[in-house]
Amino acid sequence: MLKKFINKSRIKSPWIVHFDCGSCNGCDIETLACLTPLYDVERFGIVNVGNPKHADVLLVTGTVNHRNKKVLQNIYDQMPDPKAVIAIGACGLSGGVFKDAYNVVGGVDKVIPVDVYVPGCPAKPEAIIDGVVEALNKFAEKAEAAG
């Protein structure tokens, strides 16, 4: 019963850490818009904790480049399991308009495993919230499979 409650709680309390990898800030503004009274993600228990050690979900916006790929990896490693990663915007998915730039590595999944991809340039807040919900379902499945 306790296990069940914990699994249920995982879905009900996703704490988020948002990392701006190399975004043009378009996607960041949309991500932070989710916290405003209009979208109010706290309804779902979502909190922007700003601390990888407390977070369950990592939101990454923007392209990965050679300079910040280590930082991205570091943040990912600091998060205790179970965790999920969401790549946001065209840039986070593949590199977007910056794909061919000399310093760009590509999408987030070149460095760390990504669970959910949220497309858009910039991604809409609704789509981002949807992405988080999708990620939660995924790691509930993972937790169930692990027993």
Partner: protein, 282 residues
């Protein structure tokens, strides 16, 4: 025997109440910001989730300190319910608070270090106030015993109005609410990240949260002694005080520790002393 049963009731009921209060707190805050806010049970979900996470620590001290903090705050609540001596409760609670800081100091992260230093200053600020409140209660009722104070025939607030205000300062600091929330900021994406709790993670952060619920209930318990003669007025006093805390939290910004020390010590100590002199003279 009765004391043991009361203590056990306290141990079980206090975290339930504390968690519920944390949920209601977030709901009311959301309402003030014209948002809907999380479910009332949110605090329990959060903690259950934290307990389900992988244990990850910087070093073993954190495990020890998180557990000691929890044990000390649970013990102080149990002692309160068992109607023990106020001074004993005070020292047990203070020991717990210091262990929490030690755990934060055990990690080298600058956020954790800064948070720990600030937490120490907060402890330094509110502990003398608490002692003065207890001293006032002793002068009014002639005892430090929780049971005797509760049995006092008149409401203490009539004799100790200023000391009640002094206690609310301590309450605001203990609840980590603005303008005194600088040892751990409520919103982690700011300069301090999560301050003193930054380096606690997973189940150990869960322990710290539960310990925090215990402490909240303890301070509210002390506040309830101010109107122990009538259940209705006592409830009204507590609800009113907590609502004022939330309002203050939403209406003020975080200040600096220098300001807190100056303001709380000057105004707080002055009020406490005036109240004590008045009590002594009258």
């Amino acid at each position: 025997m009765e004391a043991v049963i009361l203590a056990l009731i306290g141990l079980v009921v206090a975290p339930l109440l504390g968690g519920l209060l944390a949920g209601i707190d977030r709901r009311v805050t959301a309402w003030m910001q014209s948002r809907q806010g999380p479910p009332i049970m949110q605090a329990f979900y959060d903690v259950a989730k934290l307990f389900g996470k992988e244990p990850m620590v910087v070093n073993r001290w954190q495990i020890f300190c998180a557990w000691t903090y929890l044990l000390a705050s649970a013990l102080s609540v149990a002692l309160f319910f068992a109607q023990a001596d106020l001074l004993l409760i005070f020292f047990v609670q203070a020991a717990g608070a210091v262990f929490m800081v030690m755990g934060a100091l055990a990690a080298k992260s600058p956020y954790s270090q800064v948070g720990a230093q600030r937490e120490l200053i907060q402890i330094l600020t509110y502990e003398p106030l608490l002692i003065l409140v207890f001293a006032g209660m002793f002068m009014a009722t002639g005892s430090f015993n929780v049971g005797t104070i509760f049995a006092h025939p008149e409401p203490l607030i009539a004799k100790l109005p200023l000391l009640f205000i002094v206690l609310t300062y301590a309450l605001t600091i203990k609840l980590r609410k603005s303008p005194f929330d600088f040892s751990t900021s409520h919103h982690g994406h700011q300069e301090l990240v999560k301050g003193v709790t930054t380096e606690y993670s997973g189940p150990f952060f869960g322990l710290v949260e539960v310990a925090h619920w215990y402490e909240t209930i303890l301070v509210l318990g002390v506040a309830s002694m101010f109107w122990a003669t009538n259940v209705f007025w006592c409830a009204l006093l507590l609800v009113g005080t907590y609502f004022a805390e939330i309002l203050l939290d939403n209406a003020t910004a975080r200040m600096t520790w220098r300001w807190m020390l100056k303001y709380v010590w000057s105004i707080g100590l002055l009020m406490a002393v005036v109240n004590l002199i008045w009590l002594h003279a009258g």
